[in-house]
């Protein structure tokens, strides 16, 4: 589930961007956040899925910058109900 696949209203896209900015800001100030800490439970389903996909790709990017080698299994273990979403997000990212 990529942010581009489902048409989301501007307000939702802005909320997703704010969460992602906070997530990225923490990585940049050397306080690695968890994805779970930036993923509110009460978001509408499509918005929550799009946010999770964005956070996972950002997480992979910043971990790789630190020399880590995150795998899809790391995320599948943490979000077992979102396996399709995780595979798709990471595949799409790898193709870029």
């Amino acid at each position: 589930m990529s942010i581009r696949q489902k048409k989301l209203p501007i307000e939702a896209l802005e909320r997703i961007d704010n969460f992602c900015s906070e997530f990225e800001g923490k990585w940049q100030s050397n306080q690695p956040p968890t994805i779970e800490s930036l993923l509110p439970e009460d978001l509408p389903e499509h918005e929550r899925d799009a946010l999770l996909a964005e956070l996972i790709v950002l997480d992979v990017d910043y971990r790789q910058r630190r020399g880590e080698t995150p795998t899809s299994q790391d995320y599948l273990d943490r979000f077992p109900d979102d396996s399709a979403l995780i595979k798709e997000a990471l595949n799409e990212d790898a193709k870029r």
Binding site: I10, L13, D17, C20, L58, D61
Partner: protein
Amino acid sequence: MSDSKHVSHWIDLIKDGDSLAAHQIWHHYFDRLVRAVRGRLSGQNRAVTDEEDVVLSVFNSFYDAAQNGRFPDLADRDDLWRLLLRMSARKVIDKRRHDQRQRRGGAIQLHSLDQADDDKSVIEVIGREPSPEMVFIMEESLEQFFSHLGVGQLRDLAVAKLEGYSNAEISVRFECSERTIERRLHLIREKLQQELLDHHEHPSEKTPD
């Protein structure tokens, strides 16, 4: 073939669904449009607003980039230049319909363009060379676009993209993940699409006539 014959030929090919022809005609038209808007802006002795300033700077940088062979991928429906061109063409169409209505003093059929017909209709409407009207409206659309984005990161990003920089180059400059650039460009395109284009195309369900 002369230049204008080339263009007619491309238009025929586009009607047959040739995407390469669409690409060529966008280049042909767009190159002239950019030169014309830039010429208009540079030659004016005007009170410069913030938006006008940004627009001129974008056109100058874009022009330099194009001279160096960096040209936007106008075949890409998500390209910002392409969306701005579409927005401007829509305004021209609406203005012509309005003028026609005034002359006839009566009903005229309004029908919205769907994305599939977009290429054909827009190209047919804008014509072979940018008209002074189109040049003026393109400049106005850009000013409206920057004003809508407001001052800040989204505008800076839109400017960099319109200037022809790649997402990777922009992510280095803004010191963030390339994914963040992609996500924000998506937000910018949706703002342009949902808040400016769709709003303009469908201001209400019914037309007064």
